[in-house]
Symmetry: C2
Subunit: 304 residues, 2 copies
């Protein structure tokens, strides 16, 4: 192997989200089989897809396939792009009352005539396996552990704890401030006693904030945003970005981190693909199994 | 007047919360009179006091007096220290259904046999004028503007906006991480597009964080915690602390900020007393009037 001065040798340890997720899914499959054997209850996930966005259809198919591969039941509900808010709410209402459905996922985005907040808040919080309901957001915001946690931040947290152990006292900087990733990630890391800085488009110097971090979580949707000089040597970098870009070799999936240069300075880093992506769907299955477990816990003792 | 080298002359501009609160209460009284005249509806605040903690009794009396001084109706419900959770929940349920009650406040702390979270979550979120219900926490956490905001952070925010105008892009550090002040304060300042750092007992170097701040909000309950060298020259300092200490001149109320030395370096500072304290109760009245306004908005048009 030829080493040159021009190519910095990567020092960062790769965080293998794909392998971690596979282990998690294997454990989930064991739990599912045990629940079926002990209680005659098969955890069930309902997925609601409105309209015919091709990317959404691919995501939904993938979620259903992995749900079934773990031995769980899946229920797909497809509505036309012309569906009204009432149409969607009627489906949600039926799923809320269906005892075979333990988790409900509404694939976003919804068509423009349907307000996503209204739909998400109509889901029974105990079946809200995406963790987007305002009650679950509030529980997490107040540091409570009895709510559903959004899947992507939960996946990031699992990897961080597996890699670093206790996170208490670590300085964490989150780049990107969405309700789906950045904000719940901040709440989770605060619950773990990190000192958390949530940066966004009005932050004066995001790079300067990032340079102070022991943990950097990036969910900005901007390929190559985070450069080598944004990262403190030895820091742990979690890249949530999934961006499709064109290269000379054809289309490619990249994260929000300039991987080659950042991996020369970071202590640990998640790759894209194979980092957080597989963790998100594994956490969706986990949340559904937890919802089923709660459901069993609420059953009359004779039935449970 | 004799000036010496030993006494640094204060440079910080005082933020007069007492005067601001008085103006706010005067506006509220006008709004109340208008609602009575236009709709025959007098905003009403119910206060629930369980047990006989002397400090709580003083707070409740003060809240009732100021509620009535603004022309609003007040309803006091006192339960013995031996009351059960069911007793308290029965009172909450009756207040939730009472159309004359627009706001419900449960004075904390509750006796040890009663779980505060269960009680607070039983309040109708639209009557939760303290803003502690999990639904209101979730709305604020997700940056929504349709929930109730806790009174003390709301009071801090009003003063900050009155003093500084837009807060977008400012670096804010909050010292103290309670569900009542620190966490909702962080959510509010994030909603205003500040870059927010919420520090707590595990934060490695709180002083270093504070020194980077344009805005410091202190709610730690530790007299004199924040010293001169914690503050960037010109920064705005909001002192939420209310601590009773003994001095050679007798008992005294002080904040969490070493006022004399910090006021020599800060740009603006709230005093204790006369800063945030009066704002908290003014915001309680404001939240109750807003709840009544929402109630009127939900009335059938003929009645409204």
């Amino acid at each position: 192997m030829l080493l040159t001065n021009h190519a910095p040798s990567p020092t960062a340890q790769l965080i293998d989200g794909k392998a971690f997720a596979a282990g998690l899914v294997a454990e989930i499959a064991v739990d599912v089989a045990a629940m079926v054997a002990a209680h005659g209850i098969r955890p069930g996930l309902a997925v609601v897809l409105v309209g015919d966005d091709p990317a959404s259809a691919i995501y939904v198919r993938s979620k259903i396939r992995k749900t079934e591969a773990a031995g769980m039941a899946s229920f797909a509900h497809r509505l036309p792009a012309s569906a009204s808010r009432q149409d969607v709410l009627a489906v949600i209402d039926a799923l809320n009352r269906d005892p075979a459905v333990h988790g409900i996922l509404v694939q976003l985005p919804l068509p423009p005539q349907i307000d996503a907040t209204t739909v998400l808040d109509a889901i029974d919080p105990s079946k809200d396996v995406d963790g987007f309901h305002i009650v679950n957001a509030g529980k997490l915001a107040n540091g409570r552990t009895d709510g559903m946690v959004p899947c992507t931040p939960l996946g990031c947290l699992m990897l961080l704890k597996a890699e670093l152990g206790s996170l208490a006292g670590l300085h964490a900087v989150i780049i990107g401030c969405s309700n789906i990733v950045g904000k719940p990630m901040a709440r989770l890391l605060l619950r773990e006693k990190c000192t958390v800085v949530l940066t966004h488009q009005k932050t004066q110097d995001v790079a300067a904030e990032a340079r102070r971090a022991d943990i950097v979580v990036v969910a900005a949707g901007r390929p190559g945003l985070v450069r080598r000089d944004w990262i403190k040597p030895g820091a742990t970098v979690i890249d949530v970005g999934i961006n499709r870009i064109q290269t000379a070799d054809g289309p490619k999936i990249v994260g929000d981190v300039a991987f080659d240069e950042v991996s020369a300075v970071a202590g640990r880093i998640t790759p894209v693909p194979g980092g957080i992506g597989p963790m998100t769907i594994a956490c969706l299955l986990r949340n559904t199994v937890e919802a089923a477990r709660e459901h069993i816990g609420r059953m009359p003792r004779s039935a449970a």
